[in-house]
């Protein structure tokens, strides 16, 4: 009955004379909206209200206990002057740009390699995607162990006669961030690969046949057929990678805690420390607000650019 009413309601809504109908038909017209009310209340309580509260607290000195006092832009001023926060912003942007470019490119390469007729392709696809099944905390601990001085990575390098390449992977400020980026790429590249594989499998084989008949070689076919038709996949892969890398927390928290010094500190990590370790919830909220705005702006910008290159098959 309810479903039937809803269906009829939808039908009425589409009626060209719905504005002039009243009484029972008018009430029926509102039925679908009523069904939205519980979800809207839930959304308001769970998402909207905390978000607005968080934005409000970013303008206060709230420390979790006593009542918060309005401090205007003081938290944002502190953010600009805070050496650790500035380093965190720089590191976060570096991580986001590097991960988006390298991980997306590697994901594309893997997808192209595994979209061929090689016999072990299903096994290899599974192997490359498998790390995605592990929680980030676990991969962080795993890579912390791999990077230990004299640990597995150094042993492999030594076995290959490349012991000169051994480094203090997590103990050197100049290298630690790149070591973390390497571990994150290992963890997430399977996701980019899967997105590109899905994109590749949507491209009609006839287009390649037609291009081949026109005398296009492999490079030309990739450039003129594959690349433009992977536009949507690129938009999705880069947007997901960019969003995840701007919020990167777990691996950094586990592998270095932001050190040595502040060399691997990220905005998410410093936000966590300020709010939950030091109890500076007001300042932590200000960092969260800035992080949200940065994520929104960069992802909007990036999607605007990548969507321009999208072509439908």
């Amino acid at each position: 009955m309810t479903v039937e009413l809803a269906r009829r309601g939808i039908g009425l809504r589409r009626s060209p004379v719905r504005g002039s109908t009243g009484g029972r038909r008018g009430r029926l017209h509102l039925v679908p909206q009523w069904f939205l009310i519980p979800a809207l209340i839930f959304y308001g309580v769970v998402v909207l209200y905390p978000s607005i509260s968080g934005a409000y607290y970013s303008f206060t000195d709230w420390k979790g206990g006593a009542a918060a006092s309005w401090t205007g832009l003081e938290n944002f001023q502190r953010l600009i002057e805070d050496e650790a926060a500035v380093a965190s912003l720089r590191n976060t942007l570096l991580i986001a740009i590097t991960l988006t470019l390298v991980q997306t490119f590697l994901g594309l390469l893997l997808a192209l390699a595994l979209n061929t007729a090689i016999r072990s392709r299903n096994l290899l696809r599974t192997l490359f995607f498998a790390p995605m099944m592990l929680p980030p905390i676990i991969t962080g601990l795993l890579w912390q162990y791999i990077y230990v001085p004299g640990g597995p990575l150094d042993t492999v390098l030594s076995t290959l006669g490349l012991s000169g390449l051994s480094q203090s992977w997590l103990g050197d400020s100049d290298i630690a961030l790149w070591s973390i980026i390497g571990s994150v790429i290992w963890h997430h590249v399977g996701m980019s690969m899967v997105i590109y594989l899905a994109g590749l499998q949507r491209i009609p084989e006839e287009l390649y046949e037609a291009a081949a008949l026109d005398g296009a070689g492999a490079v030309r076919r990739f450039w003129s057929v594959t690349r433009p038709l992977l536009g949507q996949a690129t938009t999705i892969a880069t947007a997901l990678t960019m969003t995840a890398s701007l919020k990167l927390f777990d691996q950094v928290f586990v592998m270095t805690g932001g050190g040595p010094g502040v060399s691997t500190q990220t905005l998410s990590l410093i936000m966590y420390k300020e709010a939950f370790v030091y109890g500076n919830y007001g300042y932590g909220s200000a960092i969260a607000l800035i992080l949200t705005m940065i994520v929104a702006f960069i992802v909007y910008l990036q999607m605007s650019v990548t969507r321009r290159g999208e072509v439908e098959a």
């Binding site: 209200y49 650790a84 109890g279």
Partner: protein, 435 residues
């Protein structure tokens, strides 16, 4: 607008405003606790459920069943790792849903530490409890505010040197009692190809251990009123000869090659494993971590030796960092009588000792029955001689000073900052925490 539509609109606005007020009240940053701690009813009739939240059931489980039977109270326990528990409790305290009795860190080191909560009126004044007279005086800066005590010290842990007996025997060395002897031991161990001191600074909290062990003697022992003068603005970390010497000795050990090579790249666990396997000889750490180290040793606990880290050449000067863990009673506890009765129950001398023994710790109350094991036998002379000091971070006004130590300390190890920079960073963090 049609009158009926206007009324509907007005009702909707009113309902929305009411809902908004309710939500705002829920999210208000203030706690719901009163400024003054409520008095327990003390009618002797116990019933209902006692909610407890702490880090581990271990040790506590000795008393839960017997207390439930004796008092007629049901205990509902929640257990979580200290960091997660602190975060969870902070939220519960703010929203007025904290359990009756819960674990709190000492001093003001975290948002859910004893004195932070006492300042908010979120925990009960426990000064008039019978066991309060048995709290060691050295704990006062960690649990007292204006002469009132706000926490029950469950058991303590000390910052000590833990070593591999086999490695010491092979090198023909004995536990040192002076700083010079300590350096001689390090030289003798290094001569056998062993890393004298395991140091895993990739986990940055480890950077606090050795300085705290040295500062107990060089700051708390030698400059007893340093923290009072610091709080009064009469001195600073940079002006403290004790803190400067602490860092000179600590970073000197690294520069002189007595510690794990590349300590910044070495996490804490592999560093401890190195002591267990005999690649390294010693590690400085809190006694609470000793069961983990014993697990890495082939001979288990028997193979693990313990001594206090000397910081001067006068053995009687040596102080050790010793800090308790706490239980506090929620000022808004729904079953405050049961919480107080439970503290009374576990404060019995044989029970505090049993709890400490079960958890591999040191009893915190002065009337506790002595526990006969190597850890307690090592610590007892310092407790009896009143040569203990709280872990330094527990008397600092917030976690930000410790963060300055860990962050800038790593940069000193790396060579990009100096000891002067470190002391200045700690002073700045201290000022920001108290302003």
């Amino acid at each position: 607008m049609h009158p009926q539509a206007r009324r509907r609109f007005q009702r909707a606005v009113t309902a929305t405003a009411l809902a908004g007020c309710l939500l705002a009240a829920c999210a208000d940053g203030s706690t719901t606790s009163s400024d003054e701690a409520p008095e327990p009813t003390g009618d002797g009739e116990l019933s209902g459920t006692l909610e407890i939240a702490t880090t581990s059931e271990r040790g506590l489980d000795l008393f839960i069943g017997p207390f439930e039977e004796e008092a007629g109270v049901s205990i509902d326990g929640t257990y979580a790792e200290a960091g997660a528990l602190n975060e969870q409790l902070r939220i519960q305290i703010t929203s007025g849903t904290a359990p009756d009795l819960f674990r709190a860190a000492p001093g003001t080191a975290s948002p859910s530490a004893v004195l932070t909560l006492a300042d908010e009126g979120a925990v009960m004044d426990l000064s008039d409890q019978d066991w309060a007279q048995h709290v060691p005086e050295s704990f006062a800066p960690l649990q007292e505010r204006d002469g009132a005590t706000y926490a029950f010290p469950t058991y303590g842990q000390a910052m000590l040197v833990f070593y591999n007996r086999t490695v010491f025997e092979d090198a023909g060395v004995e536990p040192p009692t002076t700083w010079s002897e300590f350096i001689e031991v390090c030289d003798a161990l290094a001569a056998t190809g062993t890393v004298p001191l395991a140091l895993g600074l990739a986990d940055n909290y480890v950077l606090q251990f050795l300085p705290f062990a040295l500062a107990a003697t060089l700051v708390d022992g030698a400059e007893g009123d340093f923290y009072e003068r610091l709080a009064a603005g009469e001195t600073s970390f940079a002006e403290s000869a004790g803190w400067r010497e602490t860092f000179e000795k600590f970073f000197g050990l690294i520069e002189d090659g007595y510690t794990t090579p590349d300590p910044l790249g070495m996490p804490s666990d592999p560093a401890m494993q190195a002591v267990g396997s005999g690649e390294a000889a010693m590690v400085v750490m809190p006694s609470a971590a000793s069961p983990v180290l014993a697990g890495f040793m082939a001979g288990g606990e028997e193979e693990m030796g313990i001594f206090a880290l000397p910081a001067t050449d006068r053995p009687d000067d040596t102080h050790i960092p010793f800090t308790p863990d706490y239980l506090v009673v929620n000022a808004d506890a729904s079953n405050a009588d049961a919480a107080l009765a439970f503290l009374d129950y576990i404060a019995e001398p044989e029970r505090t000792s049993a709890w400490a023994e079960e958890t591999g710790a040191i009893p915190a109350l002065t009337n506790a029955e002595p526990v006969d094991n190597e850890l307690n036998n090592t610590v007892r002379p310092y407790l009896e001689g009143e040569r203990t000091a709280p872990f330094a971070n527990h008397v600092w006004p917030s976690g930000e000073v410790a963060n300055a130590l860990m962050t800038t300390g790593q940069q000193v190890v790396e060579g990009s900052k100096t000891i002067d920079d470190l002391l200045a960073a700690m002073d700045q963090a201290y000022q920001e925490s108290t302003s």
